[in-house]
Structures are given as structure tokens and as C-alpha cells.
């Protein structure tokens, strides 16, 4: 079993001139990064880390945006034998002090020894540090050192990364928000490399493939499917910025056309987003016939989203067989199951009410409402999926329970959180918190056990947002709730906040709603779709006195939305 530095080194020796990444920036020529560049660029950062006394096995946080510094900084840390973790960069809507607090909470748990960021962000990053804390160095990127020809490559194999063992931790992945940042998924070299083998096999990856991605690298789908897998398997990667994509989603389709892209991973909302926000004039000459799989992953998948996407882009060569699905999580490195590669995605019409009330997936009964559920495919090789009852006993097909996963590509643990790691497993199976069922060898995901919301592929913890909403004057302390409601138009969960207020004045209530919006957005970078100000005692509490997200969500839907249930 090898390690990541070894695999990169081998590629640098065997195919030094092969382009690993076509790095895109809006209105700039694409930058070709060859395997030899990954080594020379990476080695500069490895040297920087060495100069700052960072040791192999130390954690290094990268506070960098899409771009060459992130690519080289990440590989530099790996070559040095340090453990990189990518932190989302500060966006303008997030308050700097909130960002600082998030960074501080990540540092408190993960205990990194160094941060790497841009020269003009060094001071901001330092503001999150405390006296006597673990961070010894805030290292600034140096734009002058890139793309040197030979560099120090010859002495590379003496670097710390080449003494790492397959079972050593290679990287950490964090979810977003205060809660997510305190839980770093630690993956070993062998888990990542095994996953490359099994997942490549599941998607029939070949030398003909070209992966096109706009996904951020701080997210597992972006980091594994849209960065590490292509690089480690020598599959060309076209990588664009998530910021460019969200402002001009047609860029993804143009890139697929231009580079004859074959594979792309997208969260469900992206299908709807592309359908509603791309105009024909931006698709002139675009040919999508090379796309063999567009893989829906990381949030609940909708048949309707696939159908609309296909209908919209079929005139540009999109093949219906390209639509695919995947169920993945950072804790399993990435994919648990994969569907739609060898044949079309399997789907099943299920009676909605029986599914929700009885937890059984069966065809619609007479007069029942049907929901068309997309299968997330079959477990990939080496992964075993079980469905467990609330008592932890395995359930049969078509019965909804908690999905539990066992594989040889699992996380080593939540970094510095043995307590959380222990709680996450039962009999060697990782408890995903997702609800679903199996049937005909396929895995279906139907909901979530935990309160976690997934908005645009991003994991959001409602308690983080509730805490922010509670700071607004006029909101009753402790009397607020946040939950997600699926929106057919956007294809993702929209976040709703309900707060109790004493005032009856409509004007004051508007103001409270506006302030809740602002507090939440600026404190979490999550945009609330709706803020409902209600009278005191509107919210339902559980028997233990906690505000119930589930019950209040039901009440909200009945009272304010009328449709669904």
C-alpha cells in the first residue's frame, strides 16, 4: 500500500508533462498545471512549512480560495507530511468577527500548528489566535515562487511526506458552520487510496475521461471527486471557481464542451440552477455529447430535477443515460453507493403517506400520493450498507431505518474527538444519521434522523442559526426555531426561521424579520428564505421542554404553506 506523496511522485516521474489540472478563472486564459508543476509548486510550500518548523503529522489549515496557491499549498503540505485541512475563505457577507470566531473554534479542537493564507489576510487570520495557542506560524503565500522549472524536486523524496505510513492521517475535512468546524473527519492515506481504486471502478473511470468541476475543495465532493481522484488517477481535471460558476453557470457547460468533459458531480440544486439561469445565447456551439455521467450527489436527489435538466440540455447533446446518482459522505472518504453508470438510474414510485407515517416504501395505494424516488445506486465494492431500526437491529428491504455503513475506507476518527468517534459507530458500522431503505440491491435515501439541513450541498446545523436569530432584540430568548423545507423550484432545502415576539405591530415585526435575516446571513453566510414572526407561545415544545423542530415545521407548513404536509 502506497501513500499520497508516493503516488504524486510516481506521476511526476512517469508523466511529468501530462496536464493534471486546467485551472479556470473567469476572463483569464486557462492555466495548465502539469504533474511536474504539482511537484515543483508543492515543494515550495513544503519548504516553507519546513522553514517554519512545522513537522510531519502537524495539522496545517489552508485559508485560500480557488486558485493555484490552494493547489500547491495543499500538495505542499502533503509532500511535507503535514495534514492539510481547507477552511472556506471569508465571504463579504459574513462578518469578519464571526469568521474569526469560527476559525478560533476550529483551532481549539483541531489544534493546527500553522495557517497558510494570502499576505493581505495574514492579519485577519492572526486576529483569531490566542496567546499560548497551538498555532506557531501564519504563513503567507508568495506569488513570486510559482511555476519555477526544476525547483527542489530532486531532493523531494527526502521530505517528510515520504516517511508517512499508509495508516497515517493524510488530511482533514470539516463541515461548515460553528458545529461543523469542530468536527474534523480524519482520513488516512490508505483509506483515500483504496477509495480511489473502488470508486474509479464503480464509475468505470478510464484514460478517456475528463472531469469537469466547479465544486469547492473544502467540501468532500469537491475535494475527493473533483480534485484528489482525478489527480491521483491521472485523469485530466478542469477546475473552475465556485464563485464564477454561481454567477455564470453556463461556464460549466462551456467547459464540458471545450474540453470534451465526461464526468461531473453536482448537488441537486445545481440541476435546477442550470436549468433556470442559463440562456440559449450562452450555449451557442456548446456540445454536451461527451458528458457520459453527470452525478447527482450530496443532497436529496429529485427525479424532477433530472427530468428538467435533461429536457433543457438534450438539444445541446446531453444524453439521458448521462444522468447518474451517488450517496456519499466524508466519513467514508466519499462514495457509499453509485447508480446510473452501466444503466439508467433506478427509480421507484412510493406512496408518500405510507412512507412518512409507517416507514414503509411501497407502491401508491388507491388514491395515495406518489413520490418518485431516485435510487442512489448499489453499494460500491468494499462497502456494506445496513438499515437499522431505532433499537439498532437490521431491517429488511423497503423498511425505512437509519442507514449504517461499514467499509475499509472509513475515517480514522474525528480529529481529537475520540468521544464523537466512539458515538458514531455501532458494531463497526458508522451511523450516518440518514434515513433510507434498501430494495433490489439499491440504496434509497429518504430523509434524515439528525436535524442537520443540507442547503445547496452544504451541511448546516440549525442550532448555529437559532443562536444567531436569538440575538435580535425583540425576539423572545430561547423562543425560535430553524428548519429546512424542500423547494421544488430551487431543488434544495430552503431555510426557514420562526421567532416569537411580543409586539403586535406589523411594522416592528417586519423590522425584527429583517434583523433576523441580517444576523443569520452575516453570522453564518446562510441566507434565510423566510422569517416568520409569530405570537408568544406559538412554538411547540417537546415533553423535555425543548423547542421541537419537527413539530414546529409541521405546524408552519399547515399554517403558512397550506400545500404538502
Amino acid at each position: 500500500m502506497s501513500t499520497l506523496p508516493q503516488v504524486l511522485w510516481d506521476a511526476g516521474q512517469q508523466v511529468p508533462e501530462q496536464v493534471a489540472i486546467y485551472l479556470q478563472h473567469a476572463h483569464q486564459p486557462d492555466l495548465s498545471i502539469r504533474y511536474r508543476d504539482l511537484l515543483t509548486g508543492g515543494v515550495k510550500y513544503a519548504r516553507l512549512l519546513e522553514q517554519h518548523g512545522i513537522l510531519p503529522g502537524d495539522v496545517v489549515i489552508l485559508i485560500l480560495q480557488h486558485g493555484i496557491d490552494l493547489v500547491y499549498g495543499f500538495w505542499g503540505a502533503i509532500l511535507h507530511g503535514a495534514i492539510p485541512s481547507i477552511m472556506p475563505f471569508l465571504t463579504e457577507k459574513l462578518l469578519p468577527e464571526k469568521y474569526r470566531a469560527d476559525l478560533a473554534s476550529l483551532i481549539a479542537v483541531t489544534k493546527p500548528v500553522a495557517l497558510i493564507t494570502y499576505p493581505d489576510f495574514v492579519e485577519e487570520a492572526k486576529a483569531a489566535l490566542t496567546q499560548g495557542g497551538p498555532v506557531r506560524a501564519v504563513i503567507s503565500t508568495d506569488p513570486g515562487t510559482h511555476h519555477d522549472e526544476r525547483g527542489d524536486v530532486d531532493v523531494l523524496t527526502t521530505m517528510g511526506g515520504f516517511r508517512r505510513q499508509p495508516e497515517d492521517v493524510v488530511l482533514l475535512q470539516h463541515s461548515s458552520g460553528t458545529t461543523g468546524l469542530q468536527k474534523g473527519v480524519a482520513l488516512s492515506h490508505q483509506a483515500v487510496l483504496r477509495h480511489m481504486t473502488t470508486y474509479s471502478e464503480a464509475i468505470r473511470l478510464s484514460t478517456q475521461d475528463v472531469i469537469v468541476s466547479w465544486l469547492p475543495l473544502y467540501h468532500d465532493m469537491g475535494l475527493i471527486a473533483g480534485f484528489l481522484m482525478p489527480i491521483l488517477t491521472r485523469t485530466p481535471l478542469v477546475l473552475m471557481s465556485p464563485f464564477d460558476w454561481v454567477r455564470a453557470p453556463y461556464r460549466l457547460l462551456q467547459a464540458v464542451s471545450r474540453y470534451h468533459g465526461t464526468l461531473t458531480w453536482l448537488p441537486n440544486f445545481a440541476y435546477n440552477f442550470c436549468v433556470s439561469k442559463i440562456r440559449d445565447r450562452d450555449l451557442e456551439g456548446v456540445d454536451l455529447s461527451s458528458w457520459r455521467s453527470v452525478i447527482n450527489c450530496s443532497e436529496p436527489m429529485r427525479w424532477e430535477s433530472h427530468a428538467r435538466f435533461y429536457e433543457r440540455f438534450a438539444p445541446f447533446g446531453l444524453r439521458e443515460s448521462a444522468l447518474a446518482t451517488c450517496y456519499a459522505m466524508a466519513e467514508n472518504t466519499f462514495a457509499v453507493s453509485q447508480g446510473g453508470i452501466d444503466g439508467e438510474v433506478v427509480w421507484m414510485d412510493v406512496d408518500r403517506d405510507i412512507l412518512q407515517l409507517n416507514g414503509i416504501a411501497q407502491p401508491p395505494s388507491e388514491g395515495g400520493v406518489a413520490v418518485r424516488m431516485l435510487s442512489a445506486g448499489k453499494p460500491i465494492r468494499g462497502v456494506d450498507v445496513r438499515v437499522l431500526s431505532s433499537e439498532g437491529t437490521p431491517l429488511g428491504d423497503y423498511i425505512v431505518g437509519e442507514l449504517a455503513v461499514k467499509s475499509d475506507t472509513m475515517l480514522t476518527g474525528y480529529y481529537n474527538r475520540p468521544d464523537l468517534t466512539e458515538k458514531a459507530f455501532v458494531d463497526g458500522y458508522y451511523l450516518t444519521g440518514d434515513l433510507g431503505f434498501t430494495g433490489g440491491g439499491e440504496v434509497y435515501v429518504s430523509g434524515r434522523k439528525k436535524d442537520l439541513m443540507i442547503v445547496g450541498g452544504r451541511n448546516i446545523y440549525p442550532q448555529d442559526l437559532e443562536e444567531l436569530a436569538g440575538t435580535v432584540p425583540g425576539v423572545h430568548p430561547g423562543r425560535m426555531v430553524v428548519f429546512g423545507v424542500f423547494d421544488e423550484i430551487t431543488g434544495t432545502e430552503e431555510v426557514v426561521a420562526i421567532v416569537e415576539a411580543d409586539t403586535e405591530s406589523q411594522e416592528e415585526r417586519e423590522q425584527i424579520a429583517a434583523q433576523v435575516r441580517e444576523k443569520v446571513t452575516r453570522g453564518s453566510a446562510v441566507v434565510l428564505r423566510r422569517v416568520q414572526v409569530v405570537d408568544a407561545h406559538w412554538l411547540i415544545k417537546t415533553s423535555s421542554g425543548k423547542i421541537s423542530r419537527f413539530a414546529n415545521r409541521q405546524k408552519y407548513l399547515q399554517q403558512f404553506c397550506q400545500q404538502n404536509g
Partner: protein
């Protein structure tokens, strides 16, 4: 500047993007840096401006460096309409 530009965009933002139609936006109120309009809605705003006023906003202009308030956006539109 055409007097109707600001109210037209304002109405679109509160009704379609914010879904809070009774909300009143001030012409100088920050929209992007405040997070009021998130990046996912910027494309909608650009398409609305194009359809309504015949003015094209490039995707690279959809940042607070180009405009952050109704006033600033209206100014760009008025200038390009000339």
C-alpha cells in the same frame, strides 16, 4: 436618471428574491455586502435587469465592487441606456 429604475428593481428584489413584498428597501442600503442578496440570486437580478432595461451586466460585474446599492445599480443602468 430615469425615476422608475429604482422602484422597479426594488420591487423585483423584495417580491421575488426576498419574498417579503411589504419590505421597504432604501436606495442607499447595501444589498450584496449585507448578504441581503446572496450570490445564488445575483444571476436572477442580472437577467431581470437585462429583460427589463435592455442592459447587460457581465457575470464578473456581479460583485459589490461594481454595485452594492439600488442607487449604484440604477446609475449603471441609466448610463448604459444612453
Amino acid at each position: 436618471m430615469h425615476p422608475e429604475i429604482i422602484p422597479t428593481i426594488s420591487k423585483f428584489i423584495v417580491s421575488t428574491i426576498l419574498e417579503q413584498p411589504s419590505r421597504n428597501l432604501k436606495p442607499g442600503e447595501p444589498l450584496i455586502t449585507s448578504g441581503l442578496i446572496d450570490s445564488m440570486s445575483l444571476v436572477d437580478l442580472a437577467l431581470f435587469v437585462e429583460d427589463t432595461f435592455g442592459v447587460h451586466l457581465d457575470d464578473t460585474e456581479l460583485t459589490s465592487d461594481t454595485f452594492d446599492t439600488l442607487e449604484q445599480l440604477a446609475e449603471i443602468i441609466a448610463k448604459r441606456q444612453q
